[in-house]
Symmetry: C2
Amino acid sequence: MSQKTRSFLLVKRPRGMLSQEAFALNHSEISDPERGEVLVRAKYFSVDPYMRNRMNDVPSYVAPFELNKPLEGDAIGEILQSKSDEFIIGDLVSGVFPWQEYFVLPAKRIHKIDTDIAQDTYFLSVLGLTGLTAYFGMMDIGKPKHGESVVVSGAAGAVGLVAGQIARLKGCYVVGIAGGEHKTKYLSETAGFDAVIDYKNVANVRKPLRKILPDGVDIYFDNVGGEISDSIMYILRDYARIILSGQISQYNSGRLKTGPRLLAQMIVHRAKMQGFIVHDYRAEFAKAQKELAGWLKQGKIQQPENIIEGFEKLPDALLGLFSGENIGKQLVKV
Amino acid sequence: MSQKTRSFLLVKRPRGMLSQEAFALNHSEISDPERGEVLVRAKYFSVDPYMRNRMNDVPSYVAPFELNKPLEGDAIGEILQSKSDEFIIGDLVSGVFPWQEYFVLPAKRIHKIDTDIAQDTYFLSVLGLTGLTAYFGMMDIGKPKHGESVVVSGAAGAVGLVAGQIARLKGCYVVGIAGGEHKTKYLSETAGFDAVIDYKNVANVRKPLRKILPDGVDIYFDNVGGEISDSIMYILRDYARIILSGQISQYNSGRLKTGPRLLAQMIVHRAKMQGFIVHDYRAEFAKAQKELAGWLKQGKIQQPENIIEGFEKLPDALLGLFSGENIGKQLVKV
């Protein structure tokens, strides 16, 4: 028996802003799983900004997507056939899966998810790679202390939203930077941020930041880079920590952008800046998921999810990250 | 009795490149020390790049120099009169002293130096603030491990020279970047650097760096900033540490310079960048000085000193740091 499937291939490496041209919908048949493999039906795909980087043919911490092969991303699915002792039909699983409706993978590349601790989609959002990125960045690099001031850029995104809420529940004063009234209203009214700046509504975030935080910033959780990050450099407090989680303002830039050289500020304020990759914390994922699930149950963390229906909408959903008005996690339901 | 003295005042805040215009030689008389104070005759002054920053009227970790008051810097001197129980006439002392031949200071602002562990001038170089900057930056932030690759910019300067030698004695492969044959020859032939790049002799240090370190850089001890630092960002190894010690390439720049935005590289390589101020380690100075003095005695560290004679040469000596051909520590003998 073979299974028909649709998949999305990367057919053209984008230059500058991502567009539909990069993708092609493909029809194929896949064979039955062999020993140690499973057949999975995809249920939800997560789309994330870092995927834009994998479309460039540049070595990085994950290999670039290959041309004319399916893209892949964080996803959950259901086991349809199993030739592995670890899984039985009906198991819900997560992993980095190809952009296909059905696929066969070695069992070691997938993980069972425990819907007793949270609903399945949460394993792609607050308990998935984005929530875990927020968790380990804030807890391990930021190390928030009660009463400290925290700024989160890209605060309405899947990572920023969780990062800001973790800082809040640790007793920090949290300022979110996001674009547009829809997002900023959500951050202050629902997610409980102490202050919010709509960067689309001001010439420069530096002035409102100084007003909100006259004593400066202890922790900056950076998802965007660029000019917003420049503004933070002028208001660092001594021993500030800058968590480099993403640089989304730079990802669709065909050429390298330039900006002011501000590192002397880091000497003056003995500041630390650190990049990190969530996969390095894999051994601690289960423990972190338990803690995050507890915060969810206590209502200390909100996790809005936007779910687009239809496998064929995957490229739209990814494009929407760079222009969209959505808050929190963007998912595609197959 | 009063003591006549010469002093150098800051009479004009420089814009851009520092020049003689900033300084004026002044003659005055100072009164006898009061209870808890001492009268000191200056013996040697250290001139250091960070002093350029204190000439700007910008708040920083040390207050800016005041206009029409004496500049001040790291120095050693001899006690001439003491109204303190802690010092007797003839004691050799160090501290941050005004640019005067004679001055009165509270005893708590000066420290006795122990010439049993090293000659007096070493308390302004390898055992002084510059040597200690190298020590704490390399040891506490860099944490060099045997076999790692280290790049030091400004490698022939007072800080860089000690930083590179410490990394070498910890078993690292150390590449120094400096300007001019005089400096690079010294670094490779006398100070034992494994490789040296003369940045004045190449269009861009990126290419020679890649050739010398095809596997990249584990530790970058940065004294200069600017384009040299940009080159390092392209060859970071995973978990690289960037020690922000100085940004001398930026200090004489009237306006803020710009450069490429390269922080995404720090995410890819999980790199850490940290600024620091040596004064934060004051409680550990004595222990570090003992260790450094031991390395000196064993011949594991060289400390060349350039000594200009004459109090009136202080401005020249400081200016020379930004253009000079000198290796190691620049001192002025009063």
